[in-house]
Amino acid sequence: MEKVKVDFEACKGCGLCVMACPKKLMQIGSKSNNKGYFVVECSDQNACISCTSCARMCPDSALEVSK
């Protein structure tokens, strides 16, 4: 299962989570949502340590983290 869930329509592709992730797991993807933003994705769900850094930085509450 996904540790980091991305709300596809909420993400604005700003990249703050990318910067925040200590494991450098987040990256801007190649798919854009209805608003035209390229949405972020987690490159390796298994490597995620569920530290919530990405989610805490997200201005749009687009990330949900589980462990």
Partner: protein, 176 residues
């Protein structure tokens, strides 16, 4: 003769610029013109559009409610402006970003994969120029020569990009 045009898309797609090119062309051709933007509350993102009028007489309302031609660069714009094309009018649809079709039989529908063509021409950010080319060909309002001269004037200070710009324009103009 009066042409009433709407151009609409995401903020940042250069839709306001397409409108300005048409207006400059109109001025070159000694027409009366107006250009009127319309923004949402968002500073970035959100939908931006502009109304353009090119006319033989003084421009009354610069706000285009029913358009002779509409250019839509993104999906929300299509649903918003499709009903606003006059019977017999034209809609240009950026098919790179809009996957739905226009279901009206009483107007001319032109699909322009503007982003794809722009990328092809080496300038991902110039989809609007491709669209401008398509517009001049399919809708008219201003002539080819006039459009070229507008672009030449607009990029006079950036000769480096002018070539690519013209390439994009031609690609749109020679769509099919």
């Amino acid at each position: 003769m009066e042409s009433r045009i709407v151009i609409s898309g995401f903020g940042g797609q250069g839709v306001l610029t397409i409108g300005k090119y048409i207006v400059y062309g109109g001025m070159n051709a000694q027409k009366e013109v107006s250009w009127m933007p319309s923004y949402g509350p968002e500073m970035r993102g959100g939908t931006a559009s502009c109304s353009v009028v090119v006319s033989d007489r003084q421009v009354g309302s610069p706000i285009v409610t029913m358009a002779d031609a509409v250019v839509v660069m993104n999906k929300p714009s299509l649903s918003k402006y499709l009903p606003k094309v006059k019977k017999g009018g034209t809609i240009l649809i950026n098919s790179s970003l809009i996957d739905t079709k226009a279901d009206r039989q009483d107007i001319n529908v032109v699909y322009v994969p503007a982003n794809d063509l722009a990328v092809e021409c080496g300038s991902a950010r110039s989809a609007n120029i491709v669209m401008f080319g398509a517009f001049v060909k399919k809708v008219g309002v201003i002539t080819y020569e006039n459009a070229i001269s507008v672009l030449n004037d607009s990029f006079a200070k950036k000769p480096a990009v002018l070539e690519t710009i013209l390439k994009c324009f031609e690609r749109g103009y020679n769509l099919d």
